[in-house]
Every structure is written in C-alpha cells, then in structure tokens.
Amino acid sequence: MTAANATVSAGFRSWLQRRRGVLLLAAALVLFPFVISILIDGQGVGAVLANDQGNARFLQGLAIEIFILALYAISYDLVLGITGLLSFGHAMFFAVGAYSFGILLKSFDIAWPVALLIVLVAALIQAVLFALVLPRVKGITFALVTLGLASVFWIVIQSSDLSDWAGAEIGLQGVQPPVWFLDTTNERFAFYLVTIAILIGVFMVYTRIVDSPAGKVLVAIRDNEDRALMLGYNTFWFKLLALTVASITAVLAGALHALHQPIVTPNVAGLGFTVTALLIILIGGVGTISGALVGAAVFRLLQFYLDKWFGGASDLLIGLAYVAIVLYLPFGIVGTWRAKAVQRRKGLDFVGSLVSGRKR
C-alpha cells in the first residue's frame, strides 16, 4: 500500500469512527424492514425486496413519513434552534417544495432532475425573500411578517384560478412517480432507502455546519446579535445562509411528501404545520439537531398509535403527552439527555477520584 493510500484509508477510518452513531442508525434502519418481515410477518427477505403487502411494507411507509417530518423539523431547528430566528412561516418552505415539485411532475412535461432543479431555485428565492425582511424586523415582528408571507402562499394555492394545477381546497392529487426508485407504491423499499439516504446525508451536513466556525457564528447570533456584529461579523449573510440551507432541506422534504402521499393538502402551508415543526423540535430538543430526528419519530408514532388505540380521545392524550414532555424533559429528549450527560460525567469523575484517592 502506498503512503497516499494509507492516509486515505486512515482518514476514512477516522471518519467512520466519528460518524459511528449515525452510520449504525442508517444500517439499523435499512435492516429494520427485514426484521419485521421475518419476525412479525413470518415472511422472508424476499418479501421486502418484492414489496409484498404486510407489516414490513406498512411500517416502511410510516417510517418514510417520519423521515420526511424529520427533514422538515431539522431545517426548522437550524433556523429557530441554532440561529434563533423565530419564523412562523416555516410551513411555506415545505409547501413550496411539495406543490412546485408535484405540479411540475403532474402538469408539465419535463424530466424530474430538471423539476428538482427548478424547485431548488424556488428554495433560494424564498430564502432570500425571508432574509430581505430580516434587517427591518426582529423577534416577534419577524414571526408575524413570515406568518404573513406563508399565509399569502396558503391563500394563493387554494385559489380557484390555480385549481387545475394545485387543486384548490382539496389539494394536489395524481402526482405520478417520475422514476422507479421514487415510486412509493410499487417500489416501497427503494423509496425507503432513498429517503434514508437523504435524511442521513442532510443530518451529516447539518452537524458539520453546526460544528464549523460559521455554525458558531449562528449560535453567537442567537445568543446576542449585537455582540456578533461588534466582533466584525456581517450577521445578515449568516442568517441568509441558515435560511437558505433550511429552505433547501424543507423543499426536499416537501418534494418527498408529494411523492409519498396520494394528496398534498393546503394544510402543509398553514400555521398548524409550522407548529408541527415547533412541537417536534420541542420534543426532541431545541438546537440539538439530532433532536429533530428523535422528535419526529416520537411525534408521528404518538399520533399514529394513540389514534389507533383510542380513536377520538387521542387528541386529548396527545396534548397530555406534550405537557408531560415539556414538564419532565424541559430541554426535550436529546437536550435533557445531553444536560444529564454532564452530570453523569461529573458523577463518574467523582467516583473515580474517590477510588484513586486523588484530591480534585
């Protein structure tokens, strides 16, 4: 092996080591449908690959919903949790992706990569639109202006003038998968793998951003923007960066949503859907990034199973569950876990010092 090869493989090994957690998670998610198929459905590996009916197929569908919610919530965590921008219009970021990708596939005869490119351009435009508001308004005013922007979009997509494209109040239906691996109906497992790959990729990019010097500036802006300014940072560009990355992530989530769901309703542009993102990162832990993944899973599973077991009473139980989470896990699941990790380490250090007899 040459020296260059040795460094490459050493670099790869250290990368594997640093990313061990997320790679293990990815592997577990890939294996998950097979385990379900064998243990619960009593079918084999082939059933998953053949996309046969059963629990494995159904749970993949539910998992895809969770991944899409996680992508959406992770982008909100970058805006609100990391950078401290209180946006009430975040649902628009998602809805623009869902509607524009769906309409381009359904009503226009263009190749899906081109459609995706157009959607990404739309993502850039809406990020700039939100950013243009920033220098003028702060805090709750920014929240209201962004809510206004999203509401305009919410009204426009429901207008009867656009009903041929967007389907008015009913929503956008009949989006056909443009390529086999984006076909959630006939190629469920392939689509499942695609969403895992996107989620894991996005998660790695996000943790990289948050750990980078630019990420530290975003946290500094959240702590106190004036202090970041007086250190010489033109904070506008950093906020635009956060909004742009979040917008791109959210439109991707929206595009996947348009492929996965038989219908895209106008609800995904409403305030309620922004609150969904807020709830997810509150459950997972605001500003933790990985909390969005945990939060999305808890949110969707609670919603699904409480509804399945308790029917009409489920809304009340979901509400109680949120209250319990906020009361007993004030920093969310991941946030509280991390806060306790400091205590755990301190406790271990203390025990260690007792054992070794060293004074601390």
Binding site: P213, K216, A220, R227, L229, G232, N234
Partner: protein
C-alpha cells in the same frame, strides 16, 4: 497622534436625545478614562463609536477615517474592539469558542494564546466550559480576552470592575495595564480610584455633553470637579 476623535456627536435612541454634544480625543498608545455619573451617556458614547447606536450628527474619525456612518461590523474590522458592560460573552459557546469566534484572520488566536493566558490563567483551566458556567469575574475576563484575540488598535472597555470582588478588580486592572502596551484604550469606569490609577487622560460627560477633559494627574487634585461631576470624594 489622535487615534479616535469625536466632535460634537449627537445620538438619539428612539426619540430620546442621549448624546447632546460629546467631544473627545483618544491619543494613540494611551489609556483614556471616560467618567461621569450614571446615565451621563458613557456607554452610549462607546456604542456610538462602535456604530451600534449610530450618531445622528457630528464626526467620528478613527485613524483619520470618518466612521460615523459605517456599520458595526465594518468598524470592528478596522481594528476596534469593544468590551461591553455586563460580561457580554456568548453563553452557549465554550471559552475556547468564545475566543476563536473573535478571530479576524485565521491564526489570530494561536498567535495571542500565550499572551491571553498569561493575563488570565484561569481561562486556560476553563477552556472547555460553556460561557454560562463561568463566574461573573471569569466572564468579565473572557469578555476582555476576546477583544484581545484580533489585532485591535483601540479597545473600548465598559465598566470592567463592575460587580467584581476587590481582589479580582486588582487582577483586572493589572491586565488592562498590560494590554495597554499593545493597544490604545478608552475606558468607562465608575470606580474613580481604579480609573485614576490606570488612565493618563480623562474625559467627563454630564447629561450627554463633554464638560471637562485633560490629564488625569490634574483631575486627581481637582477636588471640586470630582465632587461636582463624579459625586466621589
């Protein structure tokens, strides 16, 4: 040579006329104390120089360049460091991240590391700790240290002794004396004894106006002015 000069500066915050004619000169390489009672406009003077509360009229020049209409981050990039009152650190960043974020060029921190940790040995021990876990005195040290990371020609330091224990005030004074070898300092200080021992020059503001300025040695003997403007003996 005058590094920072403010001439008849007026600043409004909302509708309030806070600075009604501040004039001051900060000679390069010296420490100038900005004195006055609570609410006289000392902090606003620093914020105006820094562009955080921009001047409505008057001129502010830094090294001969008019900065009165520039934005904060531009002004900072010219070599002005600001240490605000109330331990203005980033609570969610670690001590090291607080210092590294102040880099204007890559390697600034590595270059200054030894000097900074000589001044504030405590910070070295706490380097991994989040800012929020530091004591008040440690946070104040970190705020001053952060302004030392880039090559700042002028440091604006607001009330470094406020709320600190006497022994830490001594330490802080010694640190400011040492860092003044490297850069010019405009110091806001309520504690007249601290100010008089550090600064070579003084400027007194009263109700947003400069009322008296000169050499610190003269002010120390001017009991009448001290009583009138500072309310201290």
């Amino acid at each position: 040579m005058t590094l920072l000069a403010m001439r008849d500066v007026h600043t409004f915050i909302g509708q309030f006329h806070i600075l009604e004619g501040v004039t001051l000169d900060v000679p390069e390489g010296e420490i100038v104390a900005l004195l006055g009672r609570n609410g006289a406009g000392k902090t606003t003077t620093l914020k105006t120089a820094m562009g955080l509360t921009p001047a409505r009229s008057g001129t502010i020049t830094f090294d001969g360049v008019d900065i009165s209409q520039r934005r904060s981050f531009d002004i900072a990039s010219m070599g002005l460091g600001y240490v605000p009152e109330n331990r203005a650190i980033f609570a969610d960043l670690s001590v090291e991240e607080n210092l590294r974020i102040a880099e204007r060029q890559k390697g600034d921190f590595a270059k200054k590391e030894e000097f900074i940790f000589d001044l504030f040995p405590d910070l070295k021990r706490l380097i991994r700790l989040p800012g929020t876990n530091l004591s008040g005195g440690q946070q104040q040290m970190l705020a001053v240290a952060r302004a030392l990371v880039p090559d700042n020609r002028l440091l604006l330091i607001d009330e470094p002794s406020e709320g600190l224990a006497p022994v830490i005030i001594e330490h802080m004074m010694e640190a400011i004396r040492q860092l003044s070898d490297r850069s010019t300092v405009l110091l806001v200080e309520q504690n007249f004894i601290v100010a008089s021992r550090l600064a070579q020059h003084y400027v007194i503001v009263e109700e947003g106006r400069t009322v008296q300025a000169g050499a610190m040695a003269d002010l120390v003997d001017d009991e009448e002015a001290i009583k009138k403007y500072l309310g201290a003996a």
